[in-house]
């Protein structure tokens, strides 16, 4: 191919990582909720979308990007808490399709609510001051905001890793994922843990929405395609595996980006081909555990 140079490939790789970081964040939220609660959250894309709208709204109100990040995570997290407490909780023990249908319906309710509140054409997204424009990263010019996106994702991932691996709560979360009965016997109120996990997953979804908003348009349907892509990521990484979600998220971003370089027509399809290959070779996903009896 003409003009194929090291710089171009490296640039494409970096673009893929920036793309993949949004996938990684979304898939991580999905996977925490699935791993613990055994709930496939079909409203995850809608929480992403709500996060983007609320984030842009808060940014417009406060003028402070950092504050809007915190407020958005708090808002979508609270929305997640309410969803678990009053909707999802009633369906535990009824089979995986009940919460799936519930959250599927919820996603439509959220989309319509946003359409009613903000109109159907969406909001203009705003890149925060100081993160505009592009800078020379040695291999060429790369948008400043996308570099920030990669860094922000790394920080969030580190925070969650720390929470799960290094704190008492993390221990309970991990134990709960392995055997809830024993955790209950040990005197832990597992329903509170579930509530928190659902809230945390939704807060991350909302946060990734507001973080992604300057790179794409903010509209009520923005969560629909990305939900499908996030499911691809969780399947590739292994349902319920946080490490898998992150690795697969980056991998999907890079595969998409590299396919765009060589076979642009196949870019959209490439991640599904990747999923099919992974399912054929390693059905439980890259980091998934072998089938549990559920």
């Amino acid at each position: 191919m003409a003009g194929l140079s090291f710089d171009l490939v490296a640039m494409q790789l970096l673009t893929g990582v920036a793309l993949g970081s949004v996938y990684a964040l979304l898939a991580l939220g999905l996977c925490l909720i699935f791993g613990m609660l055994n709930v496939v959250n079909f409203a995850h894309g809608a929480f992403f979308m709500v996060g983007a709208f609320i984030g842009v709204y808060f940014l417009g109100m406060t003028g402070n990007f950092w504050l809007s990040l915190v407020l958005t995570a708090a808002f979508t997290g609270a929305l997640g808490l309410l969803t678990e407490r009053f909707l999802v909780r009633r369906l535990y023990g009824r089979g995986i399709d009940y919460p799936l249908l519930l959250t599927f319906g919820l996603s439509y309710v959220l989309i319509e609510l946003i359409r009613i509140c903000f109109g159907i054409e969406g909001l203009p997204s705003v890149t925060p001051q100081g993160l505009k424009g592009s800078i020379n990263v040695g291999i060429g010019f790369f948008p400043r905001y996308r570099l920030f996106l990669i860094a922000a994702t790394a920080v969030i991932l580190f925070g969650i890793w720390f929470l799960i691996q290094k704190t008492r709560y993390g221990l309970i979360i991990k134990a709960g994922a392995v055997d809830q009965e024993i955790v209950k016997v040990l005197g832990v109120d597992i329903s509170k843990v579930w509530l928190m996990i659902f809230g945390l997953g939704c807060a991350i979804a909302g946060l990734s929405g507001v973080l992604a908003s300057p790179t794409r348009s903010v509209n009520p349907e923005m969560g629909i395609p990305i939900l499908a892509e996030s499911f691809v990521v969780t399947v590739v990484g292994g349902m319920g595996s946080p490490v898998g979600a992150v690795v697969a998220g980056l991998l999907v971003g890079i595969v998409y980006s590299m396919t765009s370089l060589f076979f642009p027509d196949l870019a959209e399809l490439s991640i599904f081909i990747l999923m099919a290959l992974v399912l054929l070779i390693r059905p439980q996903g890259l980091f998934g555990r072998a089938e549990r009896s559920t």
Partner: protein, 410 residues
């Protein structure tokens, strides 16, 4: 009861139930059964082109209102029946069929995608209902898709992409890259740009296709940059245009190439903001700033401002207005709502609704009209509506259109 005709359509617009509650629903049905002239209006109220679609509806309602206020046709009022086709050709065909069969509309005006308008056209052709399309397409002019019932109010890619090519290539260079939405619209824009570019010695270095409604273009951009074209053509529409312009700007593409769009949308520019579109030039069917030089534009803008609290009409909005206006003018000229008589009257129509004189070409019913070349402003803007600078106006010319025989007409 002046508001009744608009109430019904507005109910379609607002998806929440609140508006439905405030609509005098019972009265609506009773009135609709009297012999109003019904115009079906399928358009993608939801999806990637929703901003443009909403403006089409607003401007079309203005045309209906003006017709009714002027006394209608022997006292018969006009009514607009808006339906959301969700930017899906199948949905568009279903909604159109419903409008014809169930709602018994007299005419169809609307559409906002090269793909949906072809499916609407196919239904109208089969049911022998007049369809005035207000969205870009080349295929609709061709003999195999066209029928006597087909009118095309909008520009077509041959006219608009051609005008942009004739403007940009001599000024900025001959190496062209395309970033193209992978459906009829994008393909037709590329073909038309290349067709005009060939005479000017232009070559295509890449035609990169992205799916309709894609949200991220970043993966395509390093390659475009490394190909180092003189001109990058954004052959996409609506949200796709806004997103790709924004991301091209972020990736610093403008420092080494000129970015043009065969259709530079007012709505995309407004939603993405001045920075994203800074320096991007393109074609349009209408920009409100024409009012400085064209009297009918001033009249139209003022009516729109009055109806919608100071807002100005967009390019596609103006087409919604003209599309309805032409059909209703033809009804008055024909003194009938009979489809065949209205077609004959519309063929003979010479009109100036908003952008100077227009008429429909005999062989394919294409509205012959000017193409306006505009460039996006990023400074010296008088107000939020002041987004474009008019660079030139390419008047309608037969040589810039495909000939009737090229289109397959004998």
């Amino acid at each position: 009861m002046k508001t009744f005709a608009t109430n019904k359509t507005r109910r379609q617009l607002i998806i929440g139930g609140a508006a439905a509650l405030s609509t005098p629903f019972g009265i609506n049905i009773a009135r609709a059964q009297s012999d109003t002239i019904k115009i079906g209006f399928p358009t993608p109220l939801t999806g990637a082109f929703s901003a443009e679609a909403q403006d089409q509806v607003k401007a079309a309602e203005l045309a209906i209102k003006q017709f009714n206020e002027a006394g209608g046709f022997n006292g018969r009022r006009a009514e607009l029946l808006v339906r959301d086709d969700k930017l899906n050709p199948g949905e568009a065909a279903t909604r159109t069929l419903e409008l014809i069969e169930k709602d018994k509309v007299n005419f169809i005006v609307g559409s906002l995608s090269a793909a949906t308008q072809l499916s609407i056209n196919a239904v109208c052709k089969e049911r022998k209902v007049l369809f005035n399309s207000i969205s870009q397409s080349d295929a609709i002019n061709e003999a195999k898709d066209w029928s006597l019932y087909t009118f095309h109010e909008a520009l077509n890619p041959t006219m608009t992409a051609g005008a942009v090519a004739r403007y940009a290539i001599p000024l900025f260079g001959k190496k062209i890259a395309f970033l193209t939405a992978d459906y009829a619209y994008g393909h037709e824009m590329v073909r038309a740009f290349e067709r005009a570019g060939k005479d000017l010695g232009a070559t295509t270095v890449a035609d990169i296709r992205h799916p309709l409604g894609a949200s991220d273009y970043s993966a395509f951009l390093p390659r475009i940059k490394s190909l180092n074209p003189d001109i990058l053509v954004l052959a996409n529409f609506g949200r796709d245009l806004a997103n790709s312009a924004m991301q091209c700007t972020d990736f610093g593409l403008k420092s080494s190439m000129k970015i043009v769009a065969p259709v530079l949308l007012y709505t995309s520019r407004v939603s993405a903001g001045p920075e994203a579109f800074e320096g991007i030039a393109g074609g349009t069917s209408y920009y409100w700033g024409l009012e400085d030089r064209i009297p009918s534009a001033k009249v139209f803008n003022d009516a729109y401002r009055k109806a919608y609290s100071g807002a100005v009409p967009s390019d596609y909005g103006a087409l919604g207005y003209a599309g309805v206006k032409s059909v209703l003018a033809a009804v008055l000229a024909a003194k009938s709502v009979d489809t065949d008589k209205v077609i004959t009257a519309m063929q003979a129509l010479k009109y100036d609704w908003y952008k100077g004189p227009e008429s429909y070409r005999a062989c394919d019913h294409q509205a012959e009209q000017s193409v306006i070349i505009v460039e996006s402003k990023s400074k010296d803007m008088k107000d939020k509506n002041d987004v474009f600078k008019i660079i030139s106006v390419e008047e309608s010319a037969e040589k810039n259109m495909r000939t009737c025989s090229e289109l397959g007409f004998k």
